[in-house]
Symmetry: C2
Subunit: 333 residues, 2 copies
């Protein structure tokens, strides 16, 4: 196992300490229970957005804490759900009197623990709503999921709903926009290599040198199929078609196109994949109005990528464009 | 070779097409000769900054084209210097009447070709100055270099001098600041794995599963030494001490601390390394005033990282903080 770490058990806490040290202007990190809050929390009169999940997907979610996006993020151990105490402590730290929206990726442990946290917060008088993202078209049920997995749409949702909350939207409006983003977005991913969970010390799965896994999950859980390695153009078709068919997207639609790296894939390949995606969408009469290219929801050092397409309207476009200031996404301020 | 590409010879052009498609608001790409220019080029009355070098180091340099940073970038083939025709065409496209500053990393081919381009541009009446970055403390001479190699400081220099040019500084001032940044910055890198150049198809070097290379170059060229794998804290010492000693940094100094990923290392490990670096610097009485953590000057999918420390003063800090709007670095606008 070749990693820049000290000890498997210390990875999350030490990386959080680094995050805090690198961005004192944007966020603060609380340990035991672990959570990250924006530097100016709590913001009075604003709906608070809280997300979280297993670590190993950085910059998700801690890298999205800051003005115009998340108020708090709760990191679990690597690929392990955070516990309700984290979300409860985060809710206490960030709620500003207008309620909390939990952004939860659809994994059984995450959903269960966020539900428990919501009940505990409600018992303390904090109003909590939730959205569960389930945008992965690859598989219906999976190793860790009843229903579809939540993946790339989560990033876009946190940005868009974060902008709405920052602009003063109430909890019901934030919930409506969150549900809309989840309904209008779909993703599909693939892997060229496995990742290695530090405390396991060996690759999560074996993938021969001449094969790739299509429909991979962000924890290395199985996807749809294994195929021989193929050119980027063919890989792009395998990822884009199921998304286009599932939404479905139609001629004349405008989308945000998000090409995401899994952690070990360099940017030059992601831009190459984006070029392939633009060709496919142009051929369908679908317009890319906005784009995001980079490694934003990762699986440790896994090599591979995912596509996410979000159908845009004027409201979502305006919220995407709104200023944001976090470690991983920042523009307009 | 597991890569998201179509054909080795097409990688650079296809990735450039993707860059152009993803960022039409920020930049334009010209093919044959290949160069990238900011969308509003030429900017009249502004010193133009041009950089370039072999591809495979993305986002360097194309991802730094835009307001407040580079006016143009010239990408060569993977790990291969661009040719003078590219720099000359870029100079014609972006010069705004106040001269051109070339930002060149110290590799023999790059230096020679940028010098030739400068002569050709001068013959057309374009005033050209140059800075050659040589911040890598690892080795004095190397496979591709007489003297030290130019690495991470190049990123910081392009941002800082780009801000000066954007604010209206003349060519002599841009040159002075560029020379100062290069003089006050040092870097050192390491690798856990090799990268594979697409048209070669096999790893650039063999690195056993239990070893790491300290002082690695950004093309996989040899560093100082191979050592058994070590904890992150020990790796951080091996990278930071030579920088601190070489500059030298002294108690009371303020620095910009840049922890850079080599392309295949995930963000969680980079933040962990940043935490280690903060501890070392704090122990020396050196203050981290600004920071940058991420993969900004890469070696394809190589796993590893580099540290760059830049001694700051008020002027450099102000220029670092100034607004920038490029694909890879953006804040304040």
């Amino acid at each position: 196992m070749k990693k820049l770490i000290n000890a498997p058990d210390a990875v999350v806490a030490e990386a959080l300490a680094g995050l805090a040290a690198a961005h004192p202007d944007l966020l603060r990190v609380h340990f035991n229970p672990d959570y990250i809050v924006r530097a100016d929390a709590p913001v009075r009169g604003k709906v608070a957005l809280i997300s979280g999940g297993g670590s190993g997907h950085e910059p998700l979610h801690g890298g999205f804490v800051g003005r115009g996006m998340l108020d708090a993020a709760c990191p679990g151990a690597i690929f392990t759900s955070p516990v309700p105490d984290q979300m409860l402590a985060a809710a206490r730290a960030v709620h500003g009197g207008r309620g909390v929206l939990q952004v939860v990726k659809n994994y059984t442990g995450d959903v269960m623990n966020f539900e428990m946290a919501a009940e505990l917060a409600a018992a303390e008088g904090i109003t909590v709503a939730s959205v569960v993202t389930n945008d992965d078209v690859a598989v219906r049920d999976s190793l860790y999921t009843a229903g579809r997995r939540g993946v790339g749409v989560t990033v876009l949702l946190e940005k868009i709903v974060g902008a709405a909350a920052e602009a003063g939207a109430d909890l019901a409006t934030c919930q409506r926009i969150a549900d809309q983003v989840n309904a209008q977005g779909r993703s599909m991913g693939m892997a060229l290599t496995s990742c290695t969970v530090p405390h396991v010390g060996r690759p999560t799965f074996d993938l021969p040198a001449d094969e790739m896994e299509i429909g991979i999950g962000i924890h290395g859980e199985p996807g749809r199929t294994r195929l021989p390695l193929a050119p980027a153009a063919a890989v792009a078709e395998l990822l884009a078609r199921p998304i286009i068919d599932d939404l479905p997207l139609r001629r004349g639609d405008h989308v945000l196109a998000f090409v995401n790296g899994m952690g070990g894939t360099p940017l030059i390949e992601l831009y190459l994949m984006f070029k392939e995606l633009t060709g496919i969408l142009a051929g369908q009469g679908i317009t890319i109005s906005r784009s995001l290219v980079g490694s934003y929801i990762t699986s440790l050092e896994m090599a591979g990528c995912s596509f996410t397409l979000l159908k845009l309207d004027d409201e979502l476009t305006r919220l995407w464009d709104a200023p944001v200031l976090t470690p991983a996404l920042r523009w307009g301020m």
